[in-house]
Amino acid sequence: MTEIAMELKNVSKRIKNKEIIKNVSFQIKRGEVFGFVGPNGAGKTTTIRMMVGLMKLTEGDIRIVGKSIQTDFSEAIREVGAIVENPEMYPFLTGRKNLEQFARMVPGTSIERIEEVVRLVGLEKVIHDKVGGYSLGMRQRLGIAQALLHKPSILILDEPTNGLDPSGMKEIRQYIRRLAEKENVSVIVSSHLLSEIELMCDRIGVIKNGSLIAVEDVEKNRKLQDSDISEYLIYVDKAKAAKEHLDGLENSLFVRVIDDTTIQTAIQREQVPHILKELLNHHINVYEVQATKNTLEDKFFDLIGENVIE
């Protein structure tokens, strides 16, 4: 088995002379959760449509477990389960009957498997109700169940957290992590909000105006580098005294008093212990230090800039 689950090679898409996807290349490893982030209209859904063969590629190729979606569609798509854009189902059928429809489409999908995925996504209680009456969150879950039915090695979810409440979101996150870690399934999740998917992804690809502008390793970015300047909130007992003391230090810092017990400052990570020592030595008690910005988010905003839809 190859270690690469999916590979996009110089993928471009033109619709009516408008270049919607521009020369996008990246790889997704087995068992990896890959986040696909970009503002509205960046081209996430279009890229996903090409991955699953709903749209033809203008240039380039997409290989799924080594098989081209263009020339080897059946073999390639067998490895893929997906929700594209919205989790649409037949509204007049029950959840269960919908899943039976999809089970019949891929030979070898058993009744037991249907029951298994229903349990996995926690829909046992409503599975015999008509989908027309489902909430968006319930449909999202049914969409995931549908995508997992034939045990794909790649799961593609377009905005899966759309419409989920915080606990539902957390559940899906945990569930996706488990799939990746225990069953070696590769997962591609798209979102326009970094914060929603950052927690579950191993790597994040940032797309803007149809170009892939960065691929970041989440783990590496999670910790601040020593030389990174970041903003910190420091919770103390005497904010004014703390500011006065810090202002008096040799390489004077910019310190702002937020309220009686909170100050804010922008410093390098390696300076943090030094400052704390200074405060404690002068009988200013420190209760909490908080880095207020996360570096990946900073990078994301730097990369994306303003969300301009072209």
């Binding site: 619709i15 449509r49 749209m55 067998r78 997906a82 037949y90 429809q101 019949r104 489409m105 891929v106």
Partner: protein, 288 residues
Amino acid sequence: MSNLDQLVKNEFIKLHHYKSTWAMYIFIAVLLVGSALITRFFVDQSLMINETFQEGLAEAYQSMGVEIPAYDMWAFLSENISLINLIIIFTIVVAAKIISNEYKWGTIKLLLIRPAGRGTVLTSKYITVLLFSVVLIIYTIILSMLIGLIFFGIDAWNPIILDNMGSSYTEISMIAAIGKDVLFYLVPLIVIATLSFMVAILFKGSAMAIAASLTVYIAAPIITLMVSKYEISKYLLTAHLNLRSIFEGAPLVEETSFGFSVTILIIYYLVFMVISWLTFQKRDVTGH
């Protein structure tokens, strides 16, 4: 291609979850019972026989020494074979909806990201449309026989009648005559259903498909007559849909032979099929 049967099963299940599908079955039953009641209690049956046996048919019976049959189950059945006209209209609707609904619900995406492939998915839908119309025809025949039997009884199990076989009246068994009528209806049914299917694919919606197909089917004689003075009229689809009257020697456009009509119909049919399959296989599935 291995799971085409499963895909057809899926389509049948979906189709029979629509209320409108059940309304079709019920509508046919109501029409049959209604027509049986009217024929039995409000119409003089000998009058009906006289009406049918105009235009020399009665004389033909006399000259060939065949007894004019009484009004029984068979007569009721052969009269109601014309309900296939209604079934053609139902089939137009089903052919349009079976495509457009998937676009309307967005489920087309889920259908096309399975190993079966687009061609097989489309084939399963097409087979379902034709199979459904066959089911409706068989349903109509069986129900007509039952109702006919209850209201009018039966004279003979397979009576001999006279039927127009192109050049002249010929002796033919009742069952064969009905079979022949059904076959003549199947031709426009298949061609028009395929037309509706194609237009639905092209427009991803049902309104245009239903409107266009209904117009072609119902207004066929009018359309043909309107352009009949031009040479091209004999190449129009509408001139050849009533294959039965062409067979019986009364074509809409003069001097079109049976063979010519069949050729034209086959050409139209093939064009509809090729356009449908090529469009469906090549086109991007987008959000709009």
